[in-house]
C-alpha cells in the first residue's frame, strides 16, 4: 500500500511538473497584461514539433549512444523547441495581442482562441508539406533519446520512468532559473514592478512593451521544455496535444493563484498528484482514469469556493 502510494506520488509529481512548466506561461502573461492567453497550450504544442523538426534536421539519428544523446541530441532538441515556441509566441504577441492592448478585455480573449485554432490548423495542414517531414494530421511518434526513453530507475520497490524523472528535474532547474530571473535580473525586477503597477513602472523608465515581450518569451521557453517532456513521456506528439494540457495547466495556474509564479508551480504539482492519487485510491468506477479529469476540476471548484484567490493567492507576480 505504502509502495503504491509512493509510486503514485512520483507519477503525480511528473504529471504535475508538466502542468507546472506550462502553467508558468499563463501566470506571467496574466500578471502583466491581464490576458488569459488561451493559445498558450499551442505554444507548448509547437515546442514539441520544433524539437521534432530539430531531430529531423539532424538526420533522424536513432543510433546515438547515451552520452551523445544526453549531451548533444537532447540539448539541441530542447533548444530547437524553445526557439520555435518563443518565436511563435512573440509573433502572436506582436501581431495579434499588441494591437488590442487598449481594446475591451473580450477582444484579446477571443483573439487568443482564434490564435489557438490557427496554430493547430497550421501544424495539421502544413507540417507534412515540409519536404521529408511526416504528415501531422494524426499523432506522430516522438524520437527516443538514449538514456531516457524506455529507461527506469528503481528505489526500493518504486519504479521511476526516466522520462518522468526528466520532467521533474526540468521543472526544478526551470524554477531555479525563474527565481534568479525574477529576483536578480533587471528585466525580472521590471516585470514584477509592471505587474504591480504598470503606470508607475513606466515612470521609473521601464519600457513596458519590452517587459511584455520578456513575459511571453519566458512562458514560451518553459512550455517548449514541457513539449519535449511530453514527447518523451508519451512517445508521440499531436497537433491537438495543447488543448487538454493547456486546459489543465490553466487550471493549475488558477489553483495556485493566477499571476503568482510560485502558485503556478505548486498548483501544477498539486493537480498532478491529485489526479494520480484519485485514479489509484478511489474505488470502483469513480477511480477509473475516465474520472481523473472530474476529480481535477472538482478540486479546482473546491479551492475556488474556499480560497477564490487560489492557494498562494496574490494578484501579482510575486517573488518566485
Amino acid at each position: 500500500m505504502l509502495d503504491l502510494f509512493f509510486q503514485q506520488l512520483i507519477n503525480g509529481l511528473s504529471l504535475g511538473a508538466l502542468y507546472a512548466l506550462i502553467a508558468v506561461g499563463y501566470t506571467v502573461v496574466y500578471g502583466i497584461v491581464q490576458l488569459i492567453n488561451f493559445a498558450h497550450g499551442e505554444i507548448f504544442m509547437v515546442g514539441a514539433f520544433g524539437a521534432f523538426a530539430t531531430w529531423m534536421l539532424l538526420g533522424q539519428p536513432t543510433d546515438w549512444g547515451v552520452s551523445a544523446s544526453l549531451l548533444i541530441l537532447l540539448p539541441l532538441m530542447l533548444l530547437g523547441g524553445i526557439v520555435v515556441s518563443v518565436t511563435v509566441a512573440l509573433l502572436t504577441e506582436r501581431f495579434a495581442y499588441r494591437p488590442l492592448r487598449n481594446a475591451p478585455r473580450l477582444a484579446p480573449l477571443i483573439t487568443a482562441i482564434g490564435v489557438s485554432v490557427f496554430l493547430q490548423e497550421f501544424v495539421r495542414l502544413f507540417y507534412g508539406r515540409i519536404p521529408g517531414f511526416p504528415d501531422a494530421k494524426s499523432a506522430i511518434p516522438f524520437p527516443s533519446v538514449a538514456g531516457i526513453s524506455g529507461e527506469i530507475v528503481r528505489i526500493g520497490s518504486v519504479t521511476i520512468q526516466m522520462p518522468a524523472l526528466f520532467t521533474i528535474v526540468a521543472l526544478a532547474i526551470s524554477t531555479l532559473f525563474l527565481w534568479f530571473f525574477v529576483n536578480r535580473s533587471k528585466t525580472g525586477r521590471a516585470m514584477v514592478a509592471t505587474s504591480q503597477d504598470p503606470d508607475t513602472a513606466r515612470l521609473m523608465g521601464i519600457n513596458v512593451d519590452k517587459v511584455i515581450v520578456a513575459a511571453f518569451a519566458v512562458g514560451a521557453g518553459l512550455a517548449a521544455i514541457a513539449g519535449v517532456a511530453h514527447g518523451l513521456n508519451y512517445g508521440n506528439i499531436d497537433f491537438r496535444m495543447g488543448f487538454l494540457a493547456g486546459l489543465k495547466a490553466f487550471t493549475a495556474a488558477v489553483l495556485g493563484g493566477i499571476g503568482n509564479i510560485n502558485g503556478a508551480v505548486v498548483g501544477g504539482l498539486v493537480l498532478g498528484v491529485v489526479e494520480a492519487m484519485a485514479t489509484t485510491f478511489i474505488p470502483g468506477q469513480f477511480g477509473s482514469s475516465a474520472w481523473k479529469d472530474v476529480w481535477a476540476f472538482a478540486l479546482l471548484i473546491l479551492v475556488l469556493v474556499f480560497r477564490p484567490q487560489g492557494l498562494l493567492g496574490a494578484k501579482v507576480v510575486d517573488r518566485a
Binding site: K186, Q196, D199, A201, R202, M204, I206
Partner: protein
C-alpha cells in the same frame, strides 16, 4: 527648460485640461495650485508621457517632448513622484530605489546616490530591507521622493508631496525640495498646501477646471487676495 503650449488632455471624450500654457525655467521651483479636479495631476501625467495630448505642444530643453514614450521621458531627464506615492509596496526600500534608477547603467554612481537618499532620510537607510508598505505615510513620501531622485532628473515633478503629512514632516519635505534646487534640480511642484508651496516657489500658476486663471511670482501670489481667499484660508 519646460514649456507647455495650449495643452489639451482628455479622458475619453471629457477634456480634463483645456488648453493650458506655462513655462518652467532652469533652476526654478514652479508650483501648480488648484482645487480638487483642476487638472494638476493630469498635467504632470501628460508631461511624463502617460497621457496623450489632444492638442498643443510640450517642449523640453529645446526639443519636442509630447509623443515621447514614458520610459524615454525618464531617460531625457524628467522624473515624477506621483500623487499617492505609488510605491511598490511589497518590495523593499532598496528595491524601490533601484527601480528609480532603472534608466541608468552607472552602478557605482547609483550606489552613492542611494547612500545620499539614506543620508537625507535616515529612517529609510536603517530599514532599507523592509517592504515599503510597512512604512508610515510620511516615510513613504520620503521614499517616493528619493525614488524619483534616483534617476538623477534635470526636472523633478512632485505631485502633492505633503499630502497627509504632519506640519513637521511637511517642513522636512519642503526643506528637501529647497536643497534639491540648490543642487541644480529644476522642480515642478503640485500642492494643496499653498502656503508651503508658494513660500518656496519662484513662480506659481493657479488652475481651475482645466484652465490657468492667473500666474505670478510665489511671493506676489502669497499676498494675492484671490489666492488668500481660496487657498490660504482667508484672513
Amino acid at each position: 527648460m519646460l514649456e507647455v503650449k495650449d495643452m489639451v488632455v482628455a479622458y475619453g471624450r471629457v477634456n480634463a485640461v483645456k488648453g493650458i500654457s506655462f513655462t518652467v525655467e532652469e533652476g526654478q521651483i514652479v508650483t501648480l495650485l488648484g482645487t480638487n479636479g483642476a487638472g494638476k495631476s493630469t498635467t504632470l501625467r501628460a508631461v511624463s508621457g502617460l497621457l496623450k495630448l489632444v492638442s498643443g505642444e510640450i517642449w523640453f530643453q529645446g526639443a519636442r517632448l509630447d509623443g515621447t514614450p514614458a520610459h524615454r521621458v525618464v531617460e531625457l531627464g524628467i522624473a515624477q513622484s506621483p500623487e499617492g506615492r505609488r510605491l511598490f509596496r511589497q518590495m523593499t526600500v532598496e528595491d524601490n530605489l533601484k527601480l528609480g534608477a532603472y534608466s541608468r547603467r552607472d552602478t557605482a554612481a547609483i550606489r552613492s546616490d542611494m547612500d545620499r537618499v539614506y543620508d537625507l532620510f535616515p529612517v529609510l537607510g536603517s530599514r532599507r530591507s523592509e517592504p515599503a508598505g510597512l512604512f508610515s505615510g510620511g516615510e513613504q513620501q520620503m521614499l517616493a521622493i528619493g525614488r524619483a531622485m534616483m534617476s538623477r532628473p534635470k526636472l523633478l515633478m512632485l505631485d502633492e508631496p505633503s499630502m497627509g503629512l504632519s506640519p513637521i514632516m511637511t517642513q522636512t519635505i519642503m526643506k528637501t525640495i529647497r536643497d534639491l534646487q540648490a543642487d541644480g534640480v529644476t522642480i515642478l511642484l503640485v500642492e494643496q498646501n499653498a502656503q508651503a508651496a508658494l513660500s518656496l516657489a519662484d513662480r506659481g500658476y493657479v488652475l481651475e477646471v482645466g484652465q490657468i486663471m492667473f500666474s505670478d511670482t510665489g511671493r506676489n501670489l502669497l499676498g494675492d487676495d484671490r489666492v488668500k481667499l481660496t487657498y490660504l484660508g482667508a484672513d
